[in-house]
Symmetry: C2
Subunit: 81 residues, 2 copies
């Protein structure tokens, strides 16, 4: 089984990496682009014996406790067999 976790800066939180990329894109002539937000993406292999519900609980706990700073970041995830 595999989980994909997406971590993004919360709305309203300054995202200096995204802003830098946005400015770079304008400078390079990509003028049809608006805001850019940068986040993190994780692929996690899980033991196949886990049930879907166990896997979801495990990944939710890992995402909340380890991968995300809940004060400034949101996360979402998918689990696939």
């Amino acid at each position: 089984m595999r989980a994909k976790v997406y971590v993004t800066p919360k709305q309203g939180v300054l995202d200096p990496q995204g802003l830098t990329i946005q400015k770079a894109l304008y400078t390079l002539g990509y003028d049809r682009v608006g805001s850019v937000r940068q986040g993190k993406y994780f692929e996690i292999q899980l033991q196949n014996q886990l049930t879907d519900e166990e896997a979801r609980q495990l990944v939710d706990k890992i995402a909340h406790d380890v991968l995300t700073n809940p004060i400034i970041e949101d996360y979402r995830f998918e689990v696939e067999r």
Copy 2:
């Protein structure tokens, strides 16, 4: 319109951030987890006047030329209205 771009280390390329997280998870007692790979995730706002095809071409070019190091990273993206 909005594009989501996912950048991941190519298979076989060492991913020190992912390895560090993997070890941290074991140390914290998450022993039902296998390998962890860390990538980047971007959300890009695009002008609504673009056709789907124009948007896809634009995002493909930005992902390839700006957001990815094609020697060590792969990317994929989605465009949504």
